[in-house]
């Protein structure tokens, strides 16, 4: 156990974060009430890249992701030790409003969750929220084009967002998230509720998105990480303390993680020995 912990720190340190990390996340301990959900996970999210989070279920990868834009603040029992820095500034600083953080760090959720309003209003939601004064139609169209949904919905923008298929709904949610052009996009298993064709479309979308955005992607699907992520962080579960505590095992270039993992645990996971 102590050996693993040592290995963790060493391997995490071994991966030297590039200077222009947009988010520097160091979660020493994350609790929900008394339950230790994540420990010892330090990872940088680099600019203009897709950082993939992989690992078995219950390894806390979603918890880590949700800590980045303070979505975890909605859970009253959440608390943590460590820091999350966004462009060098403490996201959990005393004077920082989580609402503001979430406006710069957008999020796409596991379940497609369009609002029960028209397709247009869904995409315009963030623009209106931020009191955008420019050409709303143009922005909405641009966001829908970028999320590869425009051609399918351009004639029915006033239909309810809930009338779309699951895959379309998820792309609508991506359009909604990128309409305001946030700096960072967090994606929490965005394809888990989608069929293979829709998954393919969303993956292609991600690759285009990284041209403009920094993306952090949680996925339970290793192939997906292989296909889209530039950098991959592998999380493991430590059950030695009784509960299920997630921690960062290894992080590196995606190619290196899958072809030449440094840790035994990563090797086994990548080889499909457990999931």
């Amino acid at each position: 156990m102590s050996a693993t912990a040592e290995a963790v720190t060493s391997s995490a340190a071994a991966f030297s974060p590039v200077a222009d990390a947009v988010i520097d996340c160091d979660l020493k301990k994350v609790f929900y009430g008394d339950f230790l959900a994540v420990r010892d996970s330090r990872l940088p999210i680099e600019k203009g890249k897709i950082t993939g989070f992989i690992g078995p279920s219950g390894c806390g990868k979603s918890t880590v992701l949700r800590s980045l834009n303070r979505m975890n603040d909605l859970i009253p029992t959440f608390r943590f030790e460590g820091h999350v820095k966004y462009h060098g500034q403490d996201v959990y600083g005393k004077k920082v409003d989580p609402v503001v953080v979430r406006r710069y760090i957008g999020m796409v959720f596991q379940q497609p969750n369009p609002f029960s309003m028209s397709i247009y209003d869904n995409v315009a939601f963030g623009l209106r929220l931020n009191r955008f004064k420019g050409d709303m139609d143009e922005r909405v169209q641009k966001a829908l084009e970028r999320s590869a949904l425009w051609n399918e919905v351009k004639d029915k923008l006033s239909n309810s967002g809930l009338s779309l298929s699951g895959g379309q709904q998820q792309r609508l949610c991506i359009a909604r998230a990128i309409a305001t052009e946030p700096d960072v996009l967090l994606m929490d298993e965005p394809c888990s509720a989608l069929d293979p064709i829709a998954t393919r479309q969303v993956e292609e979308l991600m690759l285009e998105l990284k041209e403009r955005y920094t993306v952090a992607l949680v996925t339970h699907n290793m192939q997906q990480a292989m296909r889209v992520a530039d950098t991959t962080a592998f999380f493991g579960v430590d059950i030695s303390a009784g509960g299920r505590t997630g921690y960062l095992v290894e992080m590196g270039e995606t190619k290196q993680i899958f072809e030449d993992p440094q840790e035994q645990l990563t090797k086994q996971y990548v080889a499909g020995e457990f999931s």
């Binding site: 462009h87 500034q89 920082v96 406006r103 710069y104 931020n130 305001t180 052009e181 946030p182 700096d183």
Partner: protein
């Protein structure tokens, strides 16, 4: 938000910005107002207790507990007692509960235990809901011109042949306990049925499966498994239905005869606390108003106790099925 630490960090094309000062102001004002409104509900019930109680204090001081055991209501001699009204309230509500309870629970079984096609069940459910929607005063009118004439021949026969039984000890000369209790039973039936339906619905399907799997007939499953499992929910339904009956006013004021007497007979006129308030308040002078406020306090206390008991049982039922007890 004068300083925005993230401003410089984000890309130039972003629309993102912190909420405006107006947004923050609106947020805190709205949250405060909502909190105030929630608190107002609690304040309201305290205020109700305070106001009614406050006006009843002089009468309470003057009549004390004798008010509850007194049997005459004589304004000119300032004699006030509500024992007949308490008797009438409890008696009529109990009768209504027995009748409405049996009907309500039976209808709940009928609606939930696969007796009829789902579409027909929806029709019956609508009928029960419409029963609840008809205003009390319309039931009163219907009671006067339909129920009383309908009951009279039967009541007469019972009085003539079985008059030695106290229940049939008097004639039904018009308004009286029987028509009042009958109409009251119809009025509480929807409450009992709705909460009982809820209690049956809460039973996990696997319980029913288990019963049938043991080789029970439908009725054995209902009587030996479903009813006992739903019992606490049904009890809550009965108690809450009883509470509703206790407070019901108009139909009773129109049907019970407003007579200040204690009589076991189903056909004798009687009175209830609520209909005493309804019939005496509009013309009451100051002294009588104080006595009526005291009567209101008595009614309030009785219904509060019954309702809180009903809610507590209901709460317990919900917890039981969520596995929290």
């Amino acid at each position: 938000m004068a300083s925005n630490p993230f401003k410089n960090a984000a890309s130039a094309s972003t629309v993102s910005g912190p909420p405006s000062g107006g947004d923050y102001l609106a947020d805190s004002v709205f949250r405060t107002v909502a909190l105030t409104c929630a608190a107002l509900i609690v304040v309201l019930i305290l205020y109700i207790l305070w106001e009614i109680g406050g006006l009843a204090v002089p009468a309470m001081a003057q009549h004390g507990l004798g008010f509850v055991s007194g049997t005459s209501w004589n304004v000119s001699q300032e004699e006030f007692g509500v024992l007949p009204e308490i008797w009438g309230t409890l008696y009529s509500s109990l009768l209504a509960l027995v009748l409405g309870g049996v009907f309500g629970v039976a209808i709940a079984i009928f609606l939930t235990q696969d007796f009829i096609h789902a579409r027909l069940a929806a029709v019956f459910r609508t009928i029960v809901e419409l029963l609840a929607a008809i205003p009390s005063v319309v039931y009163g009118l219907w009671g006067i011109y339909v129920v009383i004439p309908l009951l009279r021949p039967g009541a007469e026969w019972l009085h003539q042949h079985l008059g030695f039984i106290p229940l049939f000890g008097t004639e039904l000369s018009g308004p009286g306990l029987a028509p009042a209790a009958l109409v009251l039973a119809i009025m509480i039936l929807p409450t009992v049925a709705a909460i009982s339906v809820d209690a049956f619905r809460r039973i996990p399907y696997k319980v029913k499966e288990a019963a049938y799997g043991m080789g029970t007939t439908r009725w054995e499953a209902i009587l030996k498994v479903m009813l006992p499992t739903a019992s606490s929910g049904i009890l809550a339904a009965l108690v809450l239905g009883f509470g509703r009956a206790l407070g019901e006013t108009m139909a009773l004021a129109m049907l019970i005869g407003n007579s200040n007497q204690i009589n076991l007979s189903l056909f004798a006129p009687a009175n209830t606390l609520a209909s005493l308030l309804a019939s005496s308040f509009p013309e009451a002078g100051q002294v009588e108003v104080q006595a009526l406020m005291y009567a209101a306090v008595v009614l309030l206390v009785i219904t509060l106790i019954v309702n809180i008991a009903g809610l507590a049982i209901q709460q317990y039922t919900v917890r039981k099925f969520e596995g929290k007890t």
